[in-house]
Symmetry: C2
Subunit: 213 residues, 2 copies
Amino acid sequence: MSPFKPDIPHPSVRRLSVYLRQLESLRVQDVRTVSSQTLAASLGLTGAQVRKDLAYLGSLGHPGIGYPTQELVSAIRRALGIDREWLAALAGVGNLARALLRYRGFPQQGFRIVALFDTDPAKIGQQVEGLTIHGVGHIPEVIAATGAELGVLTVPVEGAQAVADMLVAAGIRGVLNFAPTVLRLPASVSLVSVDLAVQLEQLAFLVQMASHD
Amino acid sequence: MSPFKPDIPHPSVRRLSVYLRQLESLRVQDVRTVSSQTLAASLGLTGAQVRKDLAYLGSLGHPGIGYPTQELVSAIRRALGIDREWLAALAGVGNLARALLRYRGFPQQGFRIVALFDTDPAKIGQQVEGLTIHGVGHIPEVIAATGAELGVLTVPVEGAQAVADMLVAAGIRGVLNFAPTVLRLPASVSLVSVDLAVQLEQLAFLVQMASHD
DNA sequence: GGATGTGAACGACTTCACAGCG
DNA sequence: CGCTGTGAAGTCGTTCACATCC
């Protein structure tokens, strides 16, 4: 099915996302070509690191010249699987959900939120950013009707596992979880979790370490 | 200054945060003691991994018994530097900021947001969650007056570096950045960045890989 | 000359396996 | 006997160094 699948290591995948962000801003400035050293310096990395990562995309670089910006952008998008539109459903319509709905980065990268769910009867039926909030009981039909493949979980921690299970049952293929809990999902469903308290704790640790000379 | 600083590796630090979350929920259920195997299984890790991580905290485990929940929680909090209160300032009062202000996990872990900043004249002077929004011009005085040590950046990408520079100039010691850009800060200031588009891209990649058998 | 792509050396983290203790 | 703590082995990722090509 896939033409070739070079099995990109996880750290490289994360960095490719970061390169993409940087390259898109360079492209806007009409920079045609970029060297591994230049790109690396702008991100605080080494040239070798960047070259290793980009080599997973194939041989796009030209010795003595660098990498063509435009082609790199396309190749990274293809490798990451974002050379097409991804439809997502969002469960739990609080402030975080509203922030995500207005976040320009998502549509820019081809992510479109096409369905909203909540358990709160007061919210069900309301419109947010042009989308109607559905009760979680309607997850199956709405997911099927919209064709959403990804689920974004911005519900309180108590309901997270239950709502995740419903999304999975409805055929969702990946979950982005913001609830501070460890979700148990079937292996066939991909999971990325972002725990905001964990991030702040990492920061506190770093600051504390920096103080101890 | 520090009694002992065992230099915990980064992956372990991240997992310690996760253990803490899990242990606190166990403690609520009055579970007095926990084995590395039990804790590991609940998180999808191996017992050896958990033991290695916990060994950085000292010898808290009892062979044949396990680890005392309560003491583990305290030891992890101490190691992470969250055995005290951290004061944070939040710059950029949009939906994401409002979500963070209402997020229960922060006060629970000892993080308190004590100051708000924005550039929008329409927002300056308004109250949100009991805090007054100040103009970014007042960052120096307000940071000094409140004693905030951490800065949370929830501003649009265009203003991120400039606001970060102001926070740094005001004496902030760590920054949690949500803007999708690579911030350049002095080495003395710690930085943790969360790029939401990157997270969704990781998810898309995983789902794509899962489809290719 | 200038910059890529990559084997080889290195370093970091994880897993194994087991001695030792309650 | 169960479970911890930890050297040793193994795996994974990064850095180095250089042959190669325009």
